[in-house]
Assembly symmetry: C2
Homo-oligomer: 363 residues x 2
DNA sequence: ATGAAAGCGCTAACAC
DNA sequence: GTGTTAGCGCTTTCAT
């Protein structure tokens, strides 16, 4: 039996044909009107109003899959994050979402931690239910799947990593400068044994990093680089705490300060120091990295390196949409500046004058 | 000119027809093999291998839009969160993702804060690029769009809220019990003026809440409910901080303890108390709510009400997939228990015995 | 100014 | 066992 009946009975959702029938026009007209192409003087006001009324009456919404199939685009941009734990990305994604919406794109987030050895978490993305993808996390950024996606025409932007593939853009903050500023701040405050706690990563980085800045600052001050002062730990508060435990353990020639991978790990560090009865900043100084909200609420408040997180998100979206809409850009890599925020965890920010101001933006 | 040429040239992605041509079979066979329906003795091993080889050679991946259109399903479940800020959801989503993957679904997250008055942030979801949706946040849960989605056949699960629509399931933790336990704990510790700081929400709740538990505990202890002790604030650390400021302001008959909406706001509370030179727990006690990681790292560590966040995520997915696959369930609402975790922010958890143990799970 | 028709890439029914 | 065919719901020439 041929069924001319409305599809709504089967799926619960009215189709453009349903609307067309109700309005007494063809499906093509529905499309024209609802996509605003009616403005090109093509559809009469009368028809337009009929269509809009019919669509409203039926509660019609275009089928996403059909539209994507036909147009070869989804208007969705996906953000791949290693974890939802870190409020850092919350700020980045929020700004990205705002920017994306202005261009007619929706943003969705997929938490995916690519584990070394295991199959890459990104493989399921191949279906490409999105037009573009912004990837954070070193392991995710270096996944071979990304290059495949790029080869298929999906626009790809890597956060904080540089890809050998020229079609993959990157948007980053200047981690090296941040590492330098953090370490330099501690040196200026008189510290000579300065530890650096970093994230345990299983892929080699592609860009100059916190550690490079740390080394540059030491070198500049004529301090020897001591590998035993560089620890890796899990990127969590507990990880930061453990690293400090280790630093304070027996047999260690204790540092007097630590530059932590991020504010989250710095919170853990403060905790460990407290447990050891050490006062911050009097007995031990801590510098964080990121500038996320929590740093203002710790005791003591965190001195940290602030990232322009909103700008990072906005820029990532703009780079992505540029690529998507084939506006060729000569800029393959965007590098954003960071700035030192002096709070309490290193002490006397206001009394001791730094010898010179590292490059930074000031409000 | 008719083009029989491979589509790969146009989009960068090979189609099933391309694979079929290379393997010397029909597109239907490709589908059969690649979807594992070959196991039904229908395809010869030889053909199967040819197909697999051809697909691998081309790097073929099925087009998501086409497949969704044909099958009327996407295998994607979307999580709508009011914000990515709160690590609470990080735990929930992680567990949900694990559970979903076991059933062959991918999870994506959309941060959407429905603002009262403004148009509902969920409206853009109408396209339904997903099979089911799990919604958190009161404003999101009460959005009329949800009922439309449900009517269209999208499975919907609300977190912490009950919908009048019977097709919308709910998965919640027992907030009322948590409120009771938190308040009761403070009462048992000798507090008589106990404040409650809650989130500023613009929609009426649909379920018994922290506040109800708070009132029940007061009542049971013969303490009068004092509306001036119940404050609303923004659900952030800063919001918690401000609320406490207000409580300590001039002209206030100060409480000696506060039960905070969640751990995040409790962190802000600790900060404000510190600024006022009050010692926690000696001068003022704080109970949090949630049990997120940060509570272990504050000074003092937070006494809190722990939620089974993993179970919440897992259950939400299972309820959703049950609905999706039309396994009818008589359970429309799932209620999960909470438990008190005594740390430092209320003092003497170990010395003072609660008069009776509220219902809770113990590990 | 509008309609007819083709087709995006896939899969489910039905032939053979 | 495998190929043929139809069609999911939409948009987009092209005709009228």
């Amino acid at each position: 039996m041929r069924r001319g009946a409305t599809n709504a009975a089967q799926t619960g959702a009215p189709t453009s044909a349903d609307v067309a029938r109700l309005a007494g026009v063809s499906p093509a007209t529905i499309s024209l009107v609802l996509n605003g192409r009616a403005s090109k003087v093509r559809i009469s006001d009368e028809t337009r109003d009929k269509v809009i009324a019919a669509a409203a009456q039926l509660g019609y919404t275009p089928n996403h899959a059909a539209r994507s199939l036909r147009q070869r685009r989804t208007n969705i941009i996906t953000f791949v994050l290693p974890t939802l734990d870190n409020p850092y990305f919350s700020d980045v994604v929020r700004a990205a979402q705002t920017a994306a919406q202005q261009h007619g794109y929706a943003v969705s987030v997929i938490p995916a931690k690519t584990k070394p050895g295991e199959f890459h978490a990104l493989s399921f993305l191949q279906g490409a239910a999105f037009d573009g993808i912004i990837v954070a996390g070193r392991e995710n950024c270096t996944a071979p799947e990304l290059r495949q996606l790029a080869a298929r025409g999906v626009a790809v932007v890597a956060l904080q990593e540089q890809s050998p593939d020229p079609s993959i853009q990157s948007v980053s903050v200047d981690l090296e400068a941040g590492g330098y500023m953090a370490t330099r701040h501690l040196i200026d405050l008189g510290h000579r044994r300065i530890a650096h706690v970093t994230e345990r990563l299983h892929e080699p980085g592609t860009r100059r990093d916190r550690l490079d800045g740390y080394r540059r600052a030491l070198e500049e001050a004529g301090l020897a680089f001591d590998p035993s002062l560089v620890l890796t730990a899990e990127n969590t508060m507990a990880g930061g705490s453990k690293a400090i435990e280790q630093l304070l353990g027996p047999g260690m020639q204790r540092p007097t300060a630590a530059f932590m991978y991020n504010d989250q790990m710095a919170v853990g560090a403060l905790h460990a120091l407290r447990l050891h009865g050490l006062s911050v900043p009097d007995d031990f100084a801590i510098v964080g990295f990121d500038g996320v909200a929590i740093g203002q609420f710790t005791a003591p408040a965190l001195t940290t390196i602030d990232h322009p997180r909103e700008e990072l998100g906005r820029l990532a979206i703009e780079a992505l949409i540029g690529a998507l809409e084939k506006r060729p850009s000569d800029v393959r890599e965007h590098l954003l500046p960071v700035k030192l925020i002096v709070r309490e965890s290193c002490g006397g920010g206001k009394t001791l004058l730094p010898r010179r101001q590292p490059r930074t933006r000031t409000r």
